[in-house]
Symmetry: C2
Subunit: 216 residues, 2 copies
DNA sequence: TCCTGACGTTAACGGTGTTCACTAATCTAA
DNA sequence: TTAGATTAGTGAACACCGTTAACGTCAGGA
């Protein structure tokens, strides 16, 4: 395959993903259909099989892109703060995480909702996505590592770490991750609306409590 | 309509929901289809419109039933403990919440995942479900009210309460709700598997930390 | 007894993912 | 330059899906 046709191919793939993205935004994860993508591109549906073996693959690819996009958004706000303000950078990234999710509800549903067809199938397919998810998680672990080095991380019982990360940091990260993942997704999926109109206060209170629990 | 035919009608509705439930378990939320339900019942799909105006209504009804089932499961383990052991009852219910979700992944995806078609549509439809969700939340609020009466609830800044509940209890409940909703759903949806093989340790550590933070 | 209403049917419309056979164009190599 | 191989795309078809409409059929109540 020549470079020229490879470029052209990459361009088509990008166009497919763009069309799928706009369908996702307009109609939610279930609104993504090969026929609609093809229609928007002025093409027939079977042609898309030259680029993706199935609809699932396209959705998976899209999810990977979205993870990268979210990570870049968080890194952007992080980099506006001094490199040694680890707490401030963490807070900014968590706030941006929430802001991005709340302004990209459809995308968040795809990324953080339950796996679509069968639970097992998704796990087998998403090794690439795991990598993108890994990178996203890592931007939160980094400041925690720095805080740990300064002895400022309040650690409880440490779990066995699966990565090349001190067990205390790993444990602390998992607890915070689950806490804010849950808070943000509950709000985004509407599972908090029965209890509270605007979850901002709750979110900020949690953030404040975590911040204050950091030793200085 | 006579009582006899009403009974017959209720029986058919129950059969429809049972078929839908088994499809949900077998193939996930997306596996629920009117045609498959009808096929399993030895009937044609349009006949189902005598009982539900659309597929969404059936799914909504199913979700309501599931909320009730989950609440009853939690209440069952709660009632095995002394009525004055509020902390113990809370722990037992949270553990049962997690156990039920992990053993009913498809049901949990339907109940706690992102709303299926459009976010707004779901909110308008789910007033009954809100009620069932309300009842579910209430079983956790009750022990907290009891603990609060004993002055054992560690309260921070209190949010404005939307219910006939002391603001401190309301605030504490929301924080714990989001924390464990998030932890359990992250695990159930596989969004923790990149970081940890078995989240039991993490879950129990969080539970222990919360328990120990309760004043006595 | 009639007849009304509930229950179920078949047929159809438009939508979906996916496969297959085929054409047209483009790129590669002798 | 020309012949062959690869690629992109098409159209028809299959098997699903939700939903609507028109049509039977049968039990219950006046």
């Amino acid at each position: 395959m020549s470079d020229r046709s490879q470029k052209r191919r990459d361009l088509t793939v990008a166009e497919i993903k763009a069309a799928a993205r706009s369908l996702l935004v307009a109609s939610g994860p279930a609104g993504i259909s090969l026929r609609a993508v093809a229609r928007d591109m002025g093409i027939t549906a079977p042609a898309l099989y030259r680029y993706y073996p199935a609809l699932d693959s396209l959705i998976l690819d899209l999810a990977t892109d979205l993870h990268v996009e979210l990570r870049l958004a968080c890194e952007a706000v992080r980099d506006e703060l001094p490199a040694d303000d680890h707490v401030g950078r963490l807070i900014a990234m968590v706030r941006e995480f929430r802001r991005w999710v709340l302004t990209h509800l459809s995308e968040a549903a795809l990324m953080f909702g339950p796996p679509l067809p069968g639970v097992d199938e998704f796990h087998q397919q998403c090794e690439d996505l795991t990598h993108a998810g890994n990178q996203f998680g890592m931007i939160f672990i980094e400041p925690m590592l720095a805080l740990h080095a300064q002895g400022r991380l309040p650690v409880r019982d440490a779990l066995a770490s699966q990565f090349d990360i001190p067990a205390e940091v790993y444990t602390y990260f998992l607890a915070r991750w689950a806490q804010f993942y849950g808070l943000i997704m509950a709000e985004a999926f509407g599972h908090l609306s029965w209890a509270v109109d605007d979850a901002t206060e709750l979110f900020e209170a949690e953030l404040k409590a975590v911040t204050e629990s950091l030793l200085r």
